[in-house]
């Protein structure tokens, strides 16, 4: 059997890497672009003189000038000062489903049969890619139970925004756009379930949970009326508690004429287990870059797959991928469509990788992925419960948690002053990546949200718990040790962070930084 190891001697790469501009020497360069053939460059050497003076570049281009080896070296150093999930025990980023991102999928997207395709090529010349889109959409129809899928949105938030746009179009078509001006959401739903409908023009009503941590169905009933355009809700919510009243909530909202959107960002534990369709929702979305095994890319590129029932399909963004039995084609003739949400068909690399991942899984593999996710999470919960002062959201409410749990350092903070951020920094010293605390507001004090999804081993889970235990032990014994961490990370504890909110001190570019801090 594999052994559980707490990495007491861990040290992240610390290159003390200068800013790229400090590596610059005039006259150096990293690459030479191909010149035009001699015949062309000779005949058209004066092409610039045909341009009016005012369009020619006169201002200096202050880009760094660096040779190729040192450009490579610089970004390799920066990469080593970044903790991707494939190199670490990233149970940390709960709600984000940091599963293994298979290398074979990177091999696939480097194939010129994908990498060198222009999106405006005639559909006859990209039948393979249209097949991938069509077939992956069909897979998602099975997973969601919905009738149509758009892979155009560029992330989960974008899919939620697209859903909000569809809500608007739906009520406008029924002549109720002005009357229905409110969207209901819940506090443990992702912030985008409030922010994206607000961007689409809606007032937001936020419902808090009952004493067991389940959204208060009576509060939803009270909020729902003839002004309700829709409800946007996550299930399970970010605290990992499955909402058993999902279908009753749908009935309440449908009863007042609203639509129901199911945020399925946390779908990993329910593949083949529970679907939006059976709960009666009109729309749902998946974060393809989470549940379907594609990398998060330091925060994108990504895909938010929006799945809808047939009666909402007419509003989906154009084009819609179709298949006539012989040929795949793109349907732009959809007069009630929202139009475009993102350029082209979406992030094709994510779709291609997700197709390959799902083909590696099949129906049984997806169910196994779901089962192991919830078993892992409950195993972790059992071990975490043995750590002194460790608490969790709505502990002891008798509800078995699903794929993730929001833990709390609240009791530890009361005793030692060591909070979530302190523990987070100290855990880095053991090689554990920065954990996800919670979105704001912090309803649960000093939170830590963990998601040990299916690609983590028993030893990973045990290592993680041992690290939390070690840090809690340190906090009880020597709080300052934890508060002043990290010591073995790429950087030390930060100071002067208040500058980040000070217009006189913040700097979003090197040139501004040099000016504000009088750096040579």
């Amino acid at each position: 059997m594999a052994k559980t190891k707490v990495r007491k001697n861990f040290h992240q790469a610390r290159w003390d890497e200068p800013i790229i501009y400090d590596l610059s020497t005039p006259g150096l360069r990293g690459i030479i672009p191909p010149e035009a053939d001699a015949e062309i460059s000779a005949a058209y050497s004066g092409v610039m003189s045909k341009l009016p003076a005012e369009v020619k570049r006169k201002s200096s281009i202050d880009l760094p000038e660096v040779d190729q080896k040192h450009v490579l070296q610089h970004w390799l150093h920066l990469s080593q000062e970044t903790m991707g999930s494939n190199i670490s025990n990233d149970i940390s980023e709960g709600t984000c489903t940091m599963k293994y991102n298979p290398r074979v999928n990177e091999t696939i997207i480097a194939d010129p049969g994908f990498a060198e395709l222009h999106p405006d090529q005639d559909p006859d010349t990209v039948q393979g890619m249209l097949e991938i889109f069509y077939k992956f959409e069909n897979m998602l129809k099975e997973v969601s139970g919905m009738d149509y899928v758009s892979l155009q949105p560029g992330g989960g938030n974008h899919a939620v925004y697209t859903a909000a746009s569809i809500v608007r179009a739906y009520h406008a078509a029924r002549g109720e756009a002005e009357q229905r001006d409110t969207v209901i959401t819940t506090i443990f739903s992702h912030p985008c379930d409030a922010a994206a409908p607000a961007t689409a023009g809606y007032k937001i009503v936020t419902v808090y949970p009952d004493e067991r941590g389940v959204p208060d169905i009576e509060a939803i009933r009270a909020a729902a009326d003839e002004h309700t355009a829709a409800i946007f809700m996550t299930n399970p919510e970010d605290i990992g508690i499955y909402n058993p009243y999902a279908d009753q909530i749908v009935d309440i909202i449908h009863g007042v004429g609203g639509l129901c959107f199911y945020d399925q960002a946390n779908a990993n534990a329910f593949l083949g287990v529970a679907r939006a369709r059976e709960a009666g929702f009109d729309m749902c979305h998946f974060n393809v870059h989470k549940t379907f095994g594609t990398p998060h890319g330091s925060s994108g590129p990504a895909t938010g797959a929006l799945c809808v029932r047939d009666y909402l399909a007419k509003y989906l963004p154009v084009p819609v991928t179709q298949f006539d039995g012989q040929k795949y084609w793109l349907d732009y003739d959809r007069p009630e469509s929202l139009g475009k949400i993102r350029e082209y068909l979406g992030v094709a690399s994510v779709v291609l990788k997700a197709y390959a991942w799902t083909m590696m899984m099949g129906d049984e593999g997806l169910r196994e992925c779901a089962e192991i996710s919830v078993i892992n999470n409950n195993y972790m919960q059992k071990l975490m419960a043995e750590i002194p002062k460790m608490d969790e959201a709505f502990k002891g409410n008798g509800i078995v948690r699903q794929e993730q749990i929001r833990y709390s350092f609240g009791k530890l903070t009361e005793k030692t002053g060591v909070g979530s951020d302190d523990a987070n920094r100290r855990m880095l010293d053991y090689g554990i990546p920065w954990f996800w605390s919670s979105h704001h507001p912090w309803v649960i004090p000093e939170p830590m949200t963990l998601e040990p999804c299916e690609t983590y081993t028993k030893e990973d889970i045990e290592e993680y718990v041992e690290v939390v235990k070690a840090v809690v032990g340190e906090a009880l014994k020597d709080p300052d040790l934890v508060k002043n961490a990290p010591y073995n990370s790429a950087i030390h504890k930060r100071k002067n962070e208040q500058n980040l909110d000070d217009p006189k001190k913040w700097a979003l570019t090197w040139k501004v930084f040099k000016k504000k801090f009088k750096v040579d």
Binding site: D16, L28, E35, Y44, V47, E54, K58, I61, V71, S79, Y100, V104, T107, I108, F114, L117, H118, G128, H158, R168, P191, A195, T199, A200, I204, Y242, A274, A279, P295, S298, S299, P301, K340, R342, E343, Y344, L345, A348, T358, M360, G362, E364, G365, L366, C369, E371, I372, I375, Y379, V400, N424, H440, T457, I491, R494, N499, A507, L508, T509, V512
Partner: protein
Amino acid sequence: MTKKFAHPYIPNSQPAIKAALLKALDMKSAEDIYKEIPEHLRYRKKMNIPEPIQSEYLLLRHVEGILQKNKNAKNLVCFLGGGTWQHYVPAVCDTIMERDEFLTAYVGEAYSDHGKFQALFETGSMICDLTGMDACNTPVYDWGNAVAIASRMASRTTGRKEILIASNAGPERVSIVKNYVKPDIAVNFINYDKGTGLLDLTDLKAKLSKNTAAVYFETPSYIGVIETQAAKICKLAKAKGALSIVGVDPSSLGVFEAPGAYGADYVVGNYQPLGQHMQFGGGCGGFICTHDDKKFIAEYPSLLFGMYAVDGTEEDGELGFGEVFYERTSYASREKGKDFVGTSAALIGITAGVYMALMGPQGFKELGTGILQRVAYTKDRLAQIPGVSLPIDSVGFSDFLVSFKGKSVAEVNKALLAFGVIGGKDVSGDFPEFGQSALYSVTEVHTKEDLDKLIDALTAIMPTADAV
């Protein structure tokens, strides 16, 4: 699982381990966890998903088999542009983009992901060197999304509710903006001159009003025209209290003036030309640059990665990076934040930084000059082919319109394919004023041989002068 081996991606599916975990939980199966889901919400059927291919080799063969049905721009010569372009992608860009550290990182703070913060700060710094601006956000989805967000930002900054958009801007980008500014911001269009492709300033003056939050135009425009009146447009907008949003192809800024130098308030565009393969449109990532003024910074919905102190940490001389003015965002403030923020296109931005550093100022100048020369050559040769004409005959950067007489664009493109050429995008529907026209694109990847292939093919395809 019925198969008696652990799935390579699911270690705890090994039967003995799974059994041990369940035993520790005093459970018989995962059903003891799923019991929280009411039975009528359960899905008990088998999903209709193809049988898995669990051998990595066979999976690769399967996917490669599908991809072989595509015709790609490496084997053929491609002349499509308009929003995704075929540029050379330096090997170092591919290397960095594939690093598992960047590839699989997510929302870690600067303590675990110091390198990610520095990389994106450097990208923002360098794109601002090119655009002549001072501040930049972490990447957004694409160029259209950048225009859309900048439009809403401008509306909030000015308190005005109308955006004027140049009617020669990219149709997909415009469609994205139209949806994104609903329901409270109106979109109206500024005419352009069909002969020169330039914006009609008389029309602009007539439409600018105290309701105008911003004017959006592109240079080069979607139809490939270098907007020689850019400075005047920014000035006219400013005179009416409106802001200007300028869309650029960043690969052109080695030869064209930085919009920041002629009065732009926002400069937006696409990172794809900077080190991304075309990827069937998946290589896009958007940027929004502004000046370092709180009235602009406070309205960004995106995360902003900033540098905040000479001594950023307890260790002398260590650079400190962090999130600037986080309270703005919907992560911090839910519906009270600015629009919404989420996963977008960070890795594309990181790679663009590598590209800009590799190229340096000299690289961008040479790139731009080489493209201008190739375009000039191609246009001159194309204009000599019977039935082929150039509706706008000014100096162009990469993209330009080509009109056909006697054959439709669809017919021409079909015939070109037989010559191993992917012809330009058919814009007859979006820009009917130019008749049967296509948007062609020429970049540094095209050798004279490639260009001559197009020219020879069109010469062969088009009817002779007598027939036209």
